[in-house]
Amino acid sequence: MDENETKDRLRQLAQQGGRRFWRGLEEMLDDGSVGEWLAAEFPSAFEIGLGRRDMLKIMAASLAMSTLSGCGPTAESPAVPYVNQPTDYVPGIPRWFATAVPFDGYAQPVLAECHAGRPTRLDGNRQHPASRGTISAFAQAAVQQLYDPDRSQAVTYRGGITTWNAFDAALLDEAHRLKKSGGAGLRLLTGPASSPTLMRQIAALRGVFPSMRWHSYSPVGGLRGVATRQAFGRPLQVMPRLDRATVVVSLDDDILGPGPFQVPAALAWSEQRRKGQGMPLLFVAESTPTLTGAMAHRRLATASGRIPLLAAALSGQKPPLDPAEAAWVQAVRKAVEDNPGSAVIGAGADQAADVQALCMALAYRWGAPGRTVTYTDPVVAESDAGLAELAADIDDGKVGVLLMLDVDPAYAAPGPLGFAEILARVPFSVHAAGMYDETAARSQWHLPLAHPLESWSDCRAVDGSVTILQPLIAPLWQGRTVHQMLDGLLDQPGRDALSPVRDTWRSQLDESAWRRSLEDGRVPETAFDAVRVQPRPLPPVAAIAPPAGTEVVFRPDPSVWDGRFANCSWLQELPKPASKVVWDNPVAVSPAMGRRLKVENGDVVEIEVEGRRLRGSAWILPGQAADTVTLYFGYGRRRGGTFAEGLGYDAYQLLPVKAAPSAGARIKRTGATHHLVSTQLHHAIDGKDLVRVVAPGEGIDNAAETVVGHPDEHSLYPRYPYQGYAWGMVIDNDLCIGCNACVIACQAENNVPSVGKEQVAVGREMHWLRIDRYYEGEPDHPFTHFEPVPCMHCENAPCELGCPVNATVHSPEGINEMLYNRCIGTRTCATYCPYKVRRFNYYYFAREAAPLEWAHRNPQVTVRARGVMEKCTYCIQRVQRAHIAADRESRAISDGSVRTACQNACPTSAITFGNLNDPDSAVSRKRAGRRNYGLLDALNTWPRTTYLARIRRHGAGEA
């Protein structure tokens, strides 16, 4: 599609009513595939290639068989009480424990819901400032990983199953030998780590083995430490304060994107954003679309290799910039001048250290250090060296004993390092991990690692405060913690898991303080104090334009990160925010590159970087920088579980040893295609003004783009008087950053199954809550909008009219109820639903799950069988729990005491739920606001779920 065509199409879209948005390039091109998705909730139903007679025969047969299937006896389940019941345990009431799930060295504080001794779900820890009760999608998935049937279940030696005793004996032998040599040749390889117990143990190891070296490796994270040394002369953690700064500039830095900083950053950003002024002003220059870019006031799509030029220009140099870049830089400079002392800037972690250092110095100069940007000691401890040094030492034969703890270097190491091959040269290699992965297969010893929810450990959160990890269940597969394994080297093999952690804290926490720390999920007074810094003079950044041609940038996958979540079906099936692709990693290319190479979505392309080649399926990503190709980690796995293996391509093959955007890459079409599955058109709503945008202080009514106003709520029937409670939800589109935490929260709370790639391809994903992504403007640099869509619980619900068996009815409190035991699966309700929020169980997904996975199901929610419809219930189990608790004491349910799962998880608190009959409830006040609008309100459905329009400052970000 050339530029004129694009303009024509945009004009056409605009004429179709109001501000017109598009969901994907298919809709932009209008190639007919959209109509199919618009017309039906389950388009695949039309694809049955049967004649009328055959169809009737099959229908008759299935009717007969389904009748018979109802005749089976119900399973007998015995009642199994405790032998000795714990004193504070009450059968039927979940217990909550505070702990944390480490992620790239940072603690994600959680509260674990435990039913009858098994953790079923994770919530954020309200008392922890790094969570405030909210939680990321990754942290929630920990519970699915715990019960993953593919987890490593035994100690293996050279691939054969053996015992912990055999390993303890072998390690003891090695330890004896090492002691004589002072630990020469002993190497430890970990991921990023902040655990005080691990640090204490490493220090103890150094005492026994002075020549030991500790390496750490993570494919993401980059050169922050080097950069802070350059800028301030010491390693630091730099935190831009999104809650305080008025202008935030991001140079390829995905501040709001997935990762350990997402929740704290989103909390801070939303705190300022919630004031309704559309602040902070966010300027983003980036090569590949991110969540931060989607929230930007002014976003510039430019190559990663050109970020140094932008940084140099912002610092006052005059590098050669193209007009778009120059305009962006000018706009940033104007905003910074207009907001003196209140601007921050940051560069992406994979930018060169001097560029990052320059941005840190600029942030110091532009802002108010200590207020708009704070500095603390680094939370993640610095190791002796990285992976490249380890590889070199192995090559030189200097490594005798290598302990790899919770890392997977054979998979995640940069391809040119050839780590998987050289690993075989280590005489005594030990790998401890939760999965039997690529490294496990190439190490002599593989040890099953206890899951964080089975472990005693400790870890620091983003603010440096320590959370003690406590086990919620005994290790399912006799796994040991990292600390127990290091105990083995310190002459204490096979010691219990608690002792090493308790030892660390014995002098600081007496028994009562220890218990309180466990209860609160936070050890008091361990957060790092802000430090004062002095910027050092910096040499000017070499602002040389990168060589022309294609550049390749590497990003962790938004769903499976560096590959550690690859066996998590929840995350595999989570549509990636930008592409909405599931169960795959696409090669992201720009629309311009797509035109040039004549590739379409799914066409296999070959990328060549420094002589190394890789094949992957292209995905044309609106907003991608013209000459940038983005490769995502986490796929192309050869080991690591049923779901992980054989999906996508392995981006690590091309990852350079020195992390930096690779310029001078070549990309070409191969002619092959591979079907990528994206949900961007699924459940497409047919209507106008699905997302709305207003200026600060403005309401929907006087916004120019409003075509459909609030219709009078008319009906032939008398209106039902909702006495008592009237539940409703308001979703603030201005706060939604599209992080997907709510989608996973809903899935975990409501026992929603994952269905697999083939089923998603035909539109059968089961998510009760989806996030619709809309583009606005031209494909090369569009605005992006996110809109979470649960059931609208229409007061005038079309679905209820369709059901022949009254399986979907209305509650006296206004909830659109779905009754699984009545449903016979005609799917009429789904075809009547204009919002397309109903999901049908085409298969018996619940029964096909491995028995171990049943353990994390919520016992408060029915597990649905095949052939029934389901959808969002407003977390009715929570509403009923609140009702019962209140009724027991004959009092009213107080505002805020019912929180839905999605609302609880949301890091920006974009979702509000409550009683609309109470004019003072939070949800009523939001609904009364002028930004409130109902989706498809012209259809007279009277939705109980409404939205608040996004706020955009007119002229904001203009120079």
């Binding site: 009480p81 059968p91 029915t862």
Partner: protein
């Protein structure tokens, strides 16, 4: 041309039609009878238990309170089964050698829980909550029957949806005065039960609540 139908054909046709109609009626009647039968609803069913526990002895004879063993009935959806430890509070002193109690002793000695067969069973899609029923004055015996007379525990009432909803539609005849009455297994409705029951509904806020909504029990 010869007659196709004999003179009796009409009679046979009528008989056949009547027979089919009768068969359908009988089949429906049988099905209804079957699904509501004690056989199908497990009424009077005495499942085999690891220990032949007698409520008649413990409740009727010794007068133990329900909550001594079913401790969470007032605060949780589950009434709770007694942990082995609860049995052994008495049986470490009484009948310490009884062969009948060997499984209980083994359970404590080996830290292996007892597996009791459920007597009152509900389908998985029904979310019954004991605590709210107790709080509103529905007594144990209303559903569980005269447990104090059961040497082996059995299902006294067919716990069908009809049984539940009869009371949810009209709770007045079943509401008891106070805690003592709720746990009184011999409770009899008062002579003016309907009047006092309706008064109790107003006092306890049941009157204003719609408790026949589907999501009250299903979710």
């Amino acid at each position: 041309m010869a007659q196709i139908f004999s003179p009796s054909a009409d009679t046979w046709l009528r008989l056949a039609l009547a027979g089919v109609t009768l068969a359908i009626i009988v089949a429906i009647a049988f099905l209804i009878g079957f699904v509501t039968s004690d056989y199908r609803t497990n009424v009077d069913f005495h499942p085999a238990q690891p220990v032949p526990f007698s409520h008649r002895h413990h409740v009727g004879g010794l007068g133990l309170d329900c909550r001594y063993c079913h401790a969470s009935v007032e605060v949780s959806a589950d009434a709770g089964f007694p942990p082995t430890h609860t049995c052994m509070t008495c049986h470490s002193q009484l009948y310490t050698d009884a062969a009948m109690l060997a499984p209980v002793r083994d359970s404590l000695a080996n830290d292996k829980p007892l597996h009791w067969a459920r007597v009152a069973k509900l389908p998985d899609y029904v979310y019954f909550d004991h605590s709210i029923h107790i709080a509103k004055g529905v007594g144990c015996s209303t559903c569980h029957g005269q447990v104090q007379r059961m040497p082996l525990t059995y299902t006294a009432n067919a716990l069908t949806m009809g049984f539940c909803i009869a009371c949810h539609r009209d709770p007045a005849p079943y509401l008891r005065a106070n805690e003592a009455e709720v746990f009184d297994m011999t409770w009899k409705p008062a002579p003016n039960q309907r009047a006092v029951g309706q008064q109790r509904m107003i006092e306890r806020g049941i009157a204003g609540r719609n408790i026949t909504d589907c999501y009250t029990c299903h979710r």
